[in-house]
Subunit: 408 residues, 4 copies
């Protein structure tokens, strides 16, 4: 503890977790970096605020929150006797701070529309590498942890696993801002139960009920919030609008868009990311998408116009979520109806079915492990729990379907 | 109560007030109207999220919340024996729902930059008139109430006074989303204490402490949140950026902007609002401003570039808030320094002092009245309270100053 | 609505549910009755505050809360077109207000110790009958509902079923006061989803996830709070202390106790409740028990002394909760050790194993029914849910064991 | 940090402050001590739960909370460069943990009734001395701090001053449990603003608004909660009941009471506390008082009977709070009416007026000092604030009056 003078630090006021104090100089610099400031313009839950109007919080706040939880967790582990060096502490905090730095506007699905096959995690790595150069290698250990190359596995598990701090933050946070209070998880309690054995993350035995409650709350948040039919629908239409815009551009039609979005609509091959790609991506945020949709309400392509209006003016199509999918035949019929009704060649932009997959608990690849009082380590699914057993290790599937109301 | 069938209604999930149920068909239609949907893209507290990153809630949610409080209040008043007709109930709810319908992006200050002297309340009236035409006069009574032309004054007082439901909602709401928990007011308790005598709004005697606590909490929110030096600074720079953009356009320079914002940057006389003005205004929201600032980071006008970068990348100038203003002479000197340092003709865009005014309690024009148990009605300031007396009926002033850090 | 004069009403400030307004004159009188005021001295969660020190709330507050939820529920149902008369509304509210009026101090287990086989629900009926006489039959319909004799079943189901308002209040309330925030249920959402078909309580289809979340949260509260080994242990010792006291009195030993508790310690046959029994019971509350234990710390019976000290001074025995019971043989051995160590004839007061039973979901006797959008009514367990199926219709068992630490 | 093994610690679940972790072995032992366990049976806000039924929390929880705040505060101060030794840290925590250890049941007023002139702080010192003996002098430094004999004043100021941690805990806590949410203070923010200069506690300049808000919230809590006329009335009657009981005993009447309470009712001179006094006091808690009142409902002294019934059955007399006292003459008349009506020699037990005094801010003896950015230290009242100036350094007075309803 530096006695005698005030250490530079910044305190953020988080309505969910309270005061978040950051005193590490590298982390402070990273927060001030334009790459990270961009996250202030990327909402955490995309179009979910169409259903839960309070849910306008950003990835910026989520990243700060997760970093705060990392600091708490490392304190807890150190108090339990786990040796953690200052370097590891900084690296783990940096890694969680930047885990979403490569996240684009709206959902992952949107990324794949705009940038083909690029996953946001690989973009995060790209950004971290750039920052690592800028800060003379100070992020090397953070990168190792993030990429799961560091031998002490638990650091990576805190960033990416079934009980990582990413989830512990966003589930609690999304519950808070949506007002879906019964999805509230007790991140603090779970953190208190964390422990490390052989450099692997485990949960103290008495935390078992908290883990179970956490897993069922997560499932609940999926059904009630993330997979809410209305926000899924809005997102589907958003993706269709961007696809239509790309198709129009391929056909040499001119449509308005911001200079940044324009770059992505006009380029199709992102298999080799270059410096220009990254520069443009670092400027892309929610406002580019919304600005485009607002303008596209008035273009003279009927398809793009309808899609954009239905999002901006919230005139959404019929939608439902069901355990049973419509057959291909039925989908084709719906498309025909649309084609006829709207006099279109292809109804594909308006009729959509997609699969919503969710694990209650994934026990095979990344089982949650419990540290019994006896010292023994047991997987959650091997404790004889009727719910979290080897059977629960499967996807729960639902099917989302949407199509224009006027073909009903 | 229509027995036997389900009345159409919509339930909104508000993290602040809980479930908000709307069952009036007119109100439901107004909420779905694109004019009102626009409020989803207008943040309630502007750039305050630069200081309080959770504060990203919208005017849409605030308007719903205030409408909910109106419904509660009218129930309370009816239970106290105040006669309120179905028509009045609907009209009062519509009036509060739409009280901000003419609000532009960011603060009132921005409105005056973009549209000269137009106050958002007169824009709200314009919008309400348009909607009144669209809905065949169904908003006439709401308009009367909103414009304070209705003889039963308390309806207007619930929409605009020192204890109106606008404030009861936004103070509570802003406290919630900023995390400034000590600014929390108990809107529900104050509503419970409301009463009506001779068609004027009064507060039951035992509510006096709640009113006092409400007024001091409001003052606290001003110092801690609304007048926080950093968000005031960001807003000052935002206004300067727009002014600079207008000046450049006057000089026939070309700068990028959305089609909607372009309209306002290019037009200077709004003394007579026409249909086109309103149409464009109905499309203007936060994304137009942010998109422009993002692009302006790369224009070749040095002034606009710096202003835009400092906002988007959050590289804000030095700022302070003080009880004592700098003299005109001192301000001039600061400007000279900026002119020299940046080689500019005019430093006015970068050096700024402005006055922050706030009433603790405004006793003269719109005193809060208390209904004593004896039946007597007394003004708050006449109750011998050491704080809320006739002396408190004055502005508290502070002076905000900002200028580039590198001239220090 | 009586216009023109203030209706007498009382507003209670509930930290959990907000303002609770009671304006029914009969209910106001019942709340003021000494029978009901007694519930202010009966804690809701017994000795749970030994583990969760905030959990000191009373059955008085719980009863008010449940009554508030009843008022909300009946509003919701009426808005959905269910016909409910003023008399039914009052009766349902009275019935839930008084559902615990016959509850004794601490747990149900204690009742059976002090009063043999009397269940608190039959005592509640006895008290309600007395009140019905006192108020000239005004409680008759409430009694009918409470005893499930009223043809419109849903009223009783709101008071006693798997989704009754008793549970909707106490689960939320106990989560709040214990600080076990992840057990928080959203009572308001569930109520919003309630409906009535053929006079039976059903849940609207879209409420299914809320119901599932509610059932798992309930289970969680059982493991984390109600069956917490420490509070179960304290309660077991409390029962043993009272048994020992009764045994000593049977042997004509004199031990101190309040006049009220004395009555119950000295009488053994409660098979026919008489007026005196009821009078004494109406005076019995937590303070009688605690006062006795405090005095019993200093009696000259070693067994009673140790039991009392271990509760009052919180020097609790070893305890554990396990899926597997100890065999009778092992229990006998533990008792022998105690007998030897403490030089006692019978170790039964100190060594205890008991079964903790809990349903995740009881689908056979009182299935939760869902109202599909198609109009069809389906039982929860018939919806193909992997968790809440016909298999979940069984007790989950754990075994609680406690014995003195010094025989380990 | 002891690496490699689990340090013994205990985590308390506080609904107000979250998890409270105690790992100091001495503090853990003190918490387990019967003296401290007694605080579980002493409610924090006495009969306030007659008005706010959720307010049943105990001094046990408050003491833990204040200790938690001490731990937070010392971390903040150390991060600001204030040197604090391990011994000081433990001592400060022990001192705040035990600050109320000598508190009797119900209010301070009650103490003076039962034990004449003994203030609970001197009793706390007595208990701390006993514990200091028991733990071989380990509490010596804590005692020094508590008694303000330690040269580094700020430690004592954290325990007893206008911004001590006692208040920072109980104001927040009482706001939480009463549901008077607008009295909520942000203890965490104030702690973050604390600093130490020349071993004196100061507040960083930017904390000024938080301090003002804290002081007005405190005043609000006094009017709304602590001085609520109903709980003051209940307490006045409680004191009268005990006075009457003492008077009866002086007259050699026999009345029931617990053995512990009996000791205090029978003894009148406590000017020299002896070991027996302390032993009995260490057993005295709320249950002794309530048990006595319950029994006294049935004694044959009319005065004691009425007083006790009116408390236990909540049939409270008329009461009011006013800025202006009744004259002695008027009080005498009210007493005469009571004497006549009830056929009593002395109406003093039933008619009562007392003065309620509260400082908004006490600037003379213990001014709050602010540390300006310039390094200067200024008293709050010297900052030109219109509310907290030298004038506010005076008592605000109200007068509470109560008398039986049937003499109106």
């Amino acid at each position: 503890m530096n006695q005698g003078k005030n250490i530079k630090k910044k305190i953020f006021n988080d309505p969910v977790l309270g005061f978040i104090t950051i005193s590490d100089s590298l982390i402070l610099k990273l927060i001030e970096h334009p790459y990270f400031q961009r996250l202030k313009r990327i909402s955490q839950t995309g179009l979910t605020y169409y259903v839960y109007p309070g849910s306008t919080h950003t990835r910026f706040l989520h990243a700060l929150g997760a970093t705060h939880l990392m600091q708490l967790t490392l304190q807890v582990l150190k108090q339990k006797g786990v040796k953690i060096s200052k370097d590891e502490e900084r690296a783990a905090s940096v890694a969680i701070l930047l885990h979403d730095i490569g996240h684009g506007p709206f959902s992952h699905a949107l990324e794949s529309t705009l940038m083909d096959n690029i996953h946001h995690e690989s973009l995060s790595i790209t950004f971290m590498n750039l920052l690592n150069n800028e800060y003379n290698g100070e992020l090397s250990l953070a990168l190792e942890i993030f990429r799961d190359k560091y031998p002490r596995k638990f650091f990576h598990q805190l960033i990416s696993s079934q009980i990582d701090l990413d989830r512990l933050d966003y589930l609690k946070r999304d519950s808070f801002f949506t007002g879906v209070s019964e999805g509230n998880i007790n991140s603090e309690r779970i953190i208190t139960m964390m422990n490390v054995v052989h450099d692997e993350l485990v949960i103290d035995e008495k935390g078992i009920y908290s883990i179970e409650q956490y897993l069922t709350s997560r499932l609940f948040m999926y059904w009630q919030v993330y997979f809410h039919k209305t926000s899924v629908t809005a997102e589907v239409y958003l993706i269709q609008a961007l696809k239509r815009a790309k198709d129009l551009i391929k056909d040499c039609k001119k449509i308005p868009s911001t200079s940044t979005l324009s770059y992505f609509l006009n380029k199709s091959d992102f298999s080799q990311l270059n410096a220009e790609d990254i520069m443009y991506f670092s400027r892309l945020d929610d406002t580019d998408i919304i600005t485009a949709l607002k303008d596209w309400q008035f273009v003279d392509d009927e398809i793009l116009k309808i899609l954009s209006q239905s999002i901006i003016q919230r005139k959404l199509p019929f939608s439902r979520i069901s355990s049973h999918p419509k057959s291909d035949e039925e989908i084709r019929k719906l498309k025909s109806k649309v084609e006829e009704k709207y006099n279109l060649k292809d109804g594909k932009y308006f009729v959509h079915q997609n699969k919503l997959n969710i694990f209650l608990y994934e026990g095979k690849m990344q089982a949650i492990k419990l540290l019994l009082k006896t010292g023994e380590i047991v997987k959650l699914q091997d404790l004889g729990n009727p719910v979290f057993n080897n059977e629960s290790n499967k996807y729960i599937c639902r099917y989302h379907l949407c199509f224009p109301r006027d073909i009903l």
